[in-house]
């Protein structure tokens, strides 16, 4: 491999930045979508309709017992079929791995966010929902106005920690040849035979970002904890 040459990073920085942008974009979209989907799942799991709660529990347990990598590939093959079914098109739409990943991560991380939101909802005293009903709110209004805002607040640090994990998980899409941050670095590394420099750079960048974010979450946790 010869001498190490870290100037490769400077020369390919715009390309790497594009990869990192994709990673960040996928993380944010999947976090928001996953939290919404996860909240709906959590409400379903806590529902008194047996069929609904069993279906949600089955979905969550299935997603949680299968490797993410397998799920990524599943949705890569399934997304065109699902979209064809949903839109009623004649043939499956052409959808690249970079776009099917959005569906994958929303549906997969939703299962993990569901468990967090379920704990959040269950942390609210039962009397609150009784009080909400007593003042005449229906189920959806009491969830929207009383239960979910408090559940979110209580669970915010955990939701953010899960989002940091999601940020790291996104790197697996590089195995479907998607140009995320790791994928971009990998392509440069292979082309110029600079594996050591590129992967070292990727590792350090991830560490700095994730460590920084987790420090932020810790600080937030302290601030939130004092108020209660």
């Amino acid at each position: 491999m010869g001498e190490l040459d870290f100037s490769i990073i400077g020369r390919t920085l715009p390309y790497l930045w594009k990869g990192l942008q994709y990673t960040l974009q996928l993380t944010v979209v999947a976090a928001i979508g996953g939290i919404i989907w996860g909240t709906l799942l959590a409400m379903a799991r806590l529902s008194s309709y047996k069929v609904l709660s069993l279906a949600a529990a089955g979905y969550v347990n299935l997603m949680r017992s299968v490797p993410l990598l397998l799920v990524i590939f599943w949705f890569y093959f399934l997304s065109p079929v699902l979209l064809q079914w949903a839109t009623g098109a004649d043939r499956p739409p052409q959808i690249g791995a970079d776009r099917s990943a959005y569906i994958t991560f929303i549906l997969f991380e939703g299962a993990y966010f569901c468990e967090i939101m379920r704990a959040g909802i269950q942390s609210i005293p039962r009397g609150q929902i009784g009080a909400a009903y007593a003042v005449g709110l229906d189920y959806w209004r009491s969830m929207q106005l009383i239960i979910l805002p408090q559940a979110f607040r209580n669970m915010l640090p955990v939701l953010l920690t899960q989002t940091i994990i999601l940020f790291q998980d996104v790197s697996l899409v590089s195995l479907l040849n998607v140009t995320d941050f790791v994928g971009a670095a990998g392509k440069v590394a292979q082309r110029d035979s600079r594996l050591v420099e590129m992967y070292l750079f990727v590792a350090i960048t991830y560490f700095v970002m994730c460590f920084g974010l987790s420090l932020g979450v810790k600080a937030l946790q302290k601030r939130i904890a004092i108020v209660r």
Partner: protein, 245 residues
């Protein structure tokens, strides 16, 4: 969907696709087993270090956990597989002498072992910290040394408390083994994808793998619940009942 494909012959080898997947599963389980040993031993040591009064031990343990938790697993795989031999000539010389399969196998075990150790150390630490402070003091008051206090008083109860989260970690480890696909290890996911690519029967291949992973998850759950019940201290911690999802 036609499961009969599983009984068809692999084009370049002897045996059926089912046997090919089974050999992948074997790699998955063997790698996970070795990695679990490393993770359990190292994770326990780090977890204990982080509960001692020694400032440097705590710092070292914390630094380890932060390092391994804040880098994506696939990047850690690449660091062990590509970067380490590239930086350290002695490792390079050793790696070149290995055949590639062995190199991938050893890398996967080391990488997953050290990665999982960080997570296990979190569990062990929280288990120890969940015990009342009086337990440690009682140990010291009886004249036990620090090591003896851990061995006879703290750890036996702490380990029992953390069996449920340890079960999740074991499950995570088995699932994470699929990431070793990135360095070419012929584990279950590798064989699944290979079958899909060569036969174009992706649905059958992926369904078989999914089913296998779900069965492993259920088995691991049952086995750990059984162990939890067997070693529960009567009247101390509720053994295996309640909890769960």
């Amino acid at each position: 969907m036609n499961p009969a494909i599983l009984l068809e012959q692999v084009p370049d080898g002897d045996g059926t696709w089912l046997m090919s997947l089974a050999s992948g599963l074997q790699y998955t389980l063997v790698v996970a087993a070795f990695a679990w040993i490393i993770a359990f031993v190292l994770g326990s040591i780090l977890g204990v270090m982080r509960t001692t009064e020694n400032k440097w031990a705590v710092r070292l343990g914390n630094a380890y956990v932060e390092l391994f938790r804040n880098i994506p697993l696939i990047v850690q795989f690449f660091v062990w597989y590509f970067v380490l031999p590239g930086l350290v000539p002695a490792v390079k010389a050793w790696v070149v002498s290995l055949d590639p399969t062995t190199h991938q196998f050893v890398t996967a075990i080391v990488c997953l072992g050290l990665f999982t150790a960080a997570r296990i150390s979190e569990q062990v630490r929280s288990g120890i910290q969940a015990l009342p402070r009086g337990q440690r003091m009682a140990g010291y008051a009886m004249g036990l040394t620090q090591a003896q206090t851990y061995q006879y008083v703290l750890l036996p109860v702490a380990y029992r408390i953390v069996i449920p989260p340890m079960t999740s970690e074991l499950m995570n480890l088995i699932k994470n083994t699929a990431v070793a696909f990135s360095i070419g290890l012929v584990e279950l996911f590798f064989r699944t994808r290979e079958m899909g690519e060569l036969t174009f029967r992706y649905f059958e291949a992926f369904a078989a793998a999914t089913l296998t992973y779900v069965i492993i998850a259920m088995l691991a759950n049952r086995i750990m619940a059984f162990i939890e019940r067997r070693i529960a201290i009567p009247g101390f911690i509720s053994g295996g009942v309640g909890g769960g999802h």
